[in-house]
Amino acid sequence: MRRLFSLLLSVAAVAAFAAPAAAAEKLTVYTYESFTSEWGPGPVVKKNFEAECACEVDFVSVADGVALLNRLKLEGASTKADIVLGLDTNLTAEAKETGLFAPHGEVSGVTVPGGWSDDTFVPYDYGYFAVVYDTEKLKTPPASLKELVEGDPNQKIAIQDPRTSTPGLGLLLWVKSVYGDQAASAWAKLKNRVLTVTPGWSESYGLFTKGEAPMVLSYTTSPAYHMIAEKTDRYQAASFSEGHYLQIEVAGITANGAKNPLLQKFLTFMTGPGFQDAVPETNWMYPAGKTDKPLDPAFDKLVKPAKTLMFTPEEVAKNRKAWVDEWLSVMSK
Amino acid sequence: MSANGHKSAAVQLDDVAFSYGEATFRFDAAFPAGAITAVMGPSGSGKSTLLNLVAGFEAPQSGRVLIDGVDVSKAPPAARPVSMVFQENNLFSHLSVERNVGLGRSPSLKLTADDRAAISAALERTGLAGKQKRLPRELSGGERQRVALARVLVRDRPVLLLDEPFASLGPALRADMLDLVADLHGEKGMTVLFVTHQPQDAERIADHVVFLEDGAIAATGPARDFFAGTGPEAFQRYIGTQDGRSRDVARKPT
């Protein structure tokens, strides 16, 4: 029994020691896991900002953007977060509704496709959804969403569930923005090409790299990882003539955080090179602010969408449930 | 309690009622202190139930169980001045002979030097010297029951309940064991209730006989009356038609 107790203590201690001392000035950043993992932007961002501000950055990370918003809802006004980094534009309307966020004040140097004017959230990177395919399995990838929908049902694609996954919701919105009222019949056709609908991106991408499906729903930037980190051109994104759906990742200040003197400094830092230079090759997205370093040449080879598709956050918030239900009724037949 | 006292205590069932499923029992009997009483009767007549009521494994629905004049009806088994030897499962199979006996002294097996001496003596007395370290599975059936008797010795309680403890032993061995019980009784003078199916066993050591039928006491009396052929008719029928052998001696598979 004593041994059990001391073990419990030591487990608790592991957690306790990991919490930094409260002495120095501190900024608490809530974000998602892949941001803070050692190969993500987190470590670089922390190092660079701490050198600049002589303060301490405390990351708290959860699974993904949706979990991030939920964590915030769960914690309510008692949240320790000063800044929440990692929501996307499909979540911002809902995030605003919580009343937990404060306006961000003056921020300059942000460029995202279609421009940016939100007073609460500040973008830090963006990317486009795309169908990524295996060049060894698929010689002629679909050149449009229409070709994807109407193509050979034996060439399968792995997609994600819009009820549980951000890219899954992305595809749903993409199809909606292209097909409008005809989305349901488009899904009815596409359904035959869908190998399976996974709960998250990881599962479908895993199936894809295992060779189970020659196509997967991912990002235009996905091939950059394979080209830079794995030195292979095997996986490429298909360029769709209707355009690609845009995902913008943003940060927001909490009401508590607005009082933190470090905050404005962090926002400036976030949109500057100290942060932005890390984005392309750690988060595998496009930087939304000023960079000092040019992008790796691999990024030049990526699909550049002819047209950017995006609903406003309000449209998404208003229609998400109805659209998901529509998707569900077609797909579950 | 002292290890040398010649103690005995009368056992009395004061209008005890008990039921189990469909079977109902009603016992009103006194067992004289310091005597060996054989409890006999057909299968299902309530012999084991009677012992269980005395031992505290069963609680009477009404009536009282008195030992040495004290009402123990509500006392848990271990708190009663009673030791019991069962037909089987008297030993913990993973504990050595010594430790099995030691449990009679201390349920936590924290044994003093006196305890150890008493255990050695008891093992010696029951013919188990040199087998202290054996495990039950390394013993014969008779030896296992000797271990149980050794534990009775070190426990030293004024009442001993024997629930067919030797039913599965051969005649010669059984006779030996009965003599051992008689000797121990001679030394300690405890009150013994002895359930058996074998008239010759009862005849060999019992002073009294209590005969049960249909969940109640049908007859009681001195053993010599019962076995002299002058006992109650029901008893005569029981041993007569059985020719001294119980029809259900092998009732329990072993």
Partner: protein, 539 residues
């Protein structure tokens, strides 16, 4: 037969264990209800036609999975029990604990590596069927993966039940010259039948709450479970009332099935006696042996296949670098610590419940079962169908006003994992405890051996082995946990599966495969250690 049990300390312990479990589950539901009471519309609107379809599919796949896992497991366990000594038997049993520790995604990929469109068998299957092998997406894929998880589990639990059969019965069987059929009908059958409702219920509960497997292998949202709807209600819609309503539906459906299953069982109270060394006396015939061997080999192949695929994928990773990484080492240590603490707690909980159940059953004799007794037995198992996300979110809501939620994280993760592992542990512990009690109850009462003394001197030596089995299961389950940790985990507390999914989520599939291999090895190591712990000390 023993009536003086009303103040039995075992019942007190059981009540304490139940109180702990009830607090953990109840606290969470109260937390959610308090937050969601304001708006019940979501809870009401949840019950739409789609939900009915989902509920139907949930039940259907769970029932089929249970049948396909439990039925073969009966025979595999019987085969293993008939051959108590052969080369590799221990290793097989140890391997059988590993699937539980694998995250569902790893298992799904392992299964697909064999039976998928690009799997090892795709070529053979394509030429056999004359067309391109379509993979096992759909119900078949779900079933294969569920059987992969649950067949080994059920086998080990059935084996535990068979090993609790008193030696005398085997002796009697051989003495009476019973053939295999008669032995099965008269001895193995009843023992298995007694264990069947509990084990089938357990497997059913695991399958009814399946999430990743069903979605990934199911082929589309037609194959979905209530668990997904609960997850969605909390994650996307953040509708606590709806989550609670769906959880209640899940519990109710499970209760119906478990009640039906209970009718299959028989209350067998065998007379037992002094047990000699566990030993079988019947010598199986050559044909019987061949049949048993084929069964064991088939089960092993089925279970080991996806594991081997996982190993093969893992070997492609840069294992030396992975093992050298500080984050991997820290995650491994955290995993082992958490799993150990959870397993100890699970073993304690299950023992307390098994003891209390036995004490209550003895006290009531033939009378009707009390609610308390029900809860110490099957009832406690229902924690399995309360999704971890519900417990996590509920406690989050309840604790948020009480300071640091993260401070409570390790305690919460260990506690929830322990409670989730408890129903497994109880299946391993209960038959052994009941059998031991059958032998020792009167003697212990007579000699006044109770409480700690009884545990130390009487129960512990007999329960070492089943407790070790329980411990191994609990540890494997906690090792593989992702549900609880996902909500409470933070950067200071990353476990191996957490790290694995994180790597998977950032393109590092090779790393993830390597981590899966490491996770499997860690699990095997822990199971091995637990087995050693359970071996009787040689006197």
């Amino acid at each position: 037969m023993h009536s003086f049990r009303r103040n039995d300390s075992r019942i007190t312990l059981g009540v304490l264990a139940l109180a702990f479990i009830a607090t953990l589950i109840g606290g969470a539901l109260v937390g959610l209800l308090a937050a969601g009471a304001g708006d019940l519309s979501g809870a009401v609107s949840a019950f739409d036609p789609y939900l009915l379809r989902v509920a139907r599919f949930t039940l259907w796949q769970a029932a089929l999975s249970t049948l396909l896992s439990v039925l073969p497991a009966l025979f595999v366990a019987r085969a293993l029990s008939r051959h108590p000594r052969f080369f590799g038997r221990t290793l097989i049993l140890q391997l059988f604990a590993v699937p539980l520790a694998l995250p569902a995604l790893v298992a799904a990929l392992g299964v697909l590596a064999l039976y998928g469109r690009a799997g090892y068998f795709a070529g053979i299957l394509s030429s056999a069927t004359g067309s391109d092998w379509p993979g096992i997406y759909g119900l078949s894929g779900i079933l294969v993966a569920h059987v992969f998880f649950n067949l080994p589990l059920a086998t080990r639990l059935f084996l535990e039940a068979l090993q609790a059969v008193p030696t005398d019965q085997w002796r009697l069987a051989s003495q009476l010259g019973m053939g295999p059929a008669a032995t099965f009908r008269l001895i193995e059958g009843p023992a298995l039948r007694q264990a069947l409702p509990g084990i089938a219920g357990l497997v059913f509960m695991l399958c009814i709450t399946s999430f990743t497997i069903v979605l990934t292998l199911g082929g589309g949202p037609a194959a979905s479970t209530l668990e997904v709807a609960i997850y969605q209600a909390l994650r996307f819609d953040f509708d606590p009332a709806r989550a609670v309503a769906l959880t209640a539906l899940q519990i109710a459906l499970t209760a119906v099935v478990v009640t039906l299953l209970a009718r299959l069982g028989a209350d067998m109270t065998g007379e037992s006696s002094l047990s000699v060394a566990p030993r079988r006396y019947t010598t199986p015939s050559v044909a019987g042996t061949a049949f048993d061997a084929a069964l064991i080999v088939a089960a092993l192949a089925f279970v080991a296949g996806p594991m081997l695929a996982t190993v093969a994928a893992g070997l492609q990773a840069d294992l030396a670098r992975l093992v050298g990484e500080a984050s991997v080492q820290k995650a491994a240590l955290t995993s082992i610590l958490l799993a150990f603490v959870s397993a100890v707690l699970a073993a304690v909980l299950s023992l307390a419940l098994a003891m209390a159940r036995r004490a209550l059953a003895l006290a009531r004799r033939n009378g009707p079962r009390s609610m308390l007794e029900f809860f110490t037995d099957t009832g406690a198992g229902f924690v399995l169908v309360v999704p971890p996300i519900v417990i996590g979110a509920g406690w989050f809501l309840a604790l948020r006003h009480l300071g640091s939620v993260f401070g409570a994280a390790p305690v919460m993760v260990a506690a929830v994992n322990a409670v989730m592992a408890m129903p497994f542990a109880i299946r391993a512990v209960r038959p052994a405890y009941d059998a031991a009690s059958e032998r020792h109850e009167r003697l212990a009462a007579q000699l006044g051996i109770a409480g700690w003394n009884r545990f130390r001197l009487i129960d512990w030596p007999v329960l070492r082995r089943p407790l070790a089995t329980a411990f191994a299961f609990a540890m494997a389950l906690s090792l593989g946990d992702l549900g609880v940790i996902a909500l409470f985990g933070s950067d200071s507390m990353q476990t191996l599966p957490y790290l694995l999914l994180a790597r998977m989520g950032s393109y590092r599939t090779a790393d993830a495969a390597g981590l899966a291999l490491i996770l499997g090895l860690v699990c095997l190591l822990l199971v091995f250690a637990a087995d050693r712990l359970g071996k009787e000390r040689t006197a």
